[in-house]
Assembly symmetry: C2
């Protein structure tokens, strides 16, 4: 297999593994998928004017979160409020250019929070149609997430004449 094929396979595997870590509620594993400046050989004690490797994350409907502190805290918060989550990924597209990879995909999400009465049962399950753009960076430890941006799809994707603008 040649190098471009291999890159695409590795990036797609990293993307899938990231969502699996979310499904498992494995905070440690989720944290490991996020890039650190030291993954890039950037000295973290020095203030880098280019903020190389500084991560950002947008959850559906949320403002931008910047830096590992904010981003990882958001995942801890989401995990604390989610008892069950499953991602069915469709329309996965990978574009690799040098040491950066862009993945776009549709996250068909099924999730449920803790039962309202604190009992054994799950809260009501909710389905969500979300699209994501994930930017990965090649590191000695594999492909790591530099940015995740997810947003709700509010409009019909199919239309007879294919000309309608979503709102």
């Amino acid at each position: 297999m040649n190098a471009p094929h291999l890159d695409v396979e590795q990036v797609e595997a990293a993307n899938t593994a990231f969502y699996e870590a979310l499904e498992e509620g494995d905070f440690e594993k989720v944290s490991e998928f996020w890039l650190t400046p030291s993954d890039l050989g950037v000295d973290e004690s020095y203030h880098d004017p280019a903020d190389a490797g500084v991560v950002s994350c947008v959850h559906p409907g949320w403002p931008v979160l910047t830096g590992r502190g904010e981003v990882l805290r958001s995942y801890a918060l989401i995990m604390a409020n989610t008892d069950y989550i499953q991602f069915f990924l469709t329309d996965v597209h990978v574009s690799v250019t040098g040491d950066t990879a862009l993945v776009t995909c549709t996250e068909n999400i099924l999730s449920g929070g803790p039962a309202p009465d604190g009992g054994e049962e799950l809260g009501p399950l909710v389905g969500q149609l979300v699209v994501a753009t994930n930017t990965f960076r090649r590191t000695p430890a594999g492909w790591k997430l530099w940015s995740h941006h997810a947003s709700p799809v509010l409009a019909e994707t199919e239309d007879e004449d294919g000309e309608d603008t979503p709102p």
Copy 2:
């Protein structure tokens, strides 16, 4: 000025200029800001398994658009339905790693469509709070957009205890 500072300034200028081209409704200029595989020295007649430099775009509430054809058609459509648009960018953050740059920003948008009666007046102006993640790639012709993902902010960004999860 050292190289990282210069990169950040150039990326920020490219990001600003892209939004100005949108404000001006200048379709040609908007098109020029989008990366082509040939900007990266990729032969477009050869099928590249890594789809290097293949662009993607998500407008607020829309599904993912992939490739220059779909992306540029969406801008033509939006421009045809928008008589007036202004972007007030805030919270601009740039992270440059090698030849790739990530820009996150808040797009405070004010826009209006054509008058409903086809008259001289603007349609009603609408304000929108949108956050964007823009991925730029360094090319011999300057920094070009590889990906744009914009999404509506549906929740409060400030909260007294800073602990609330947006929906």
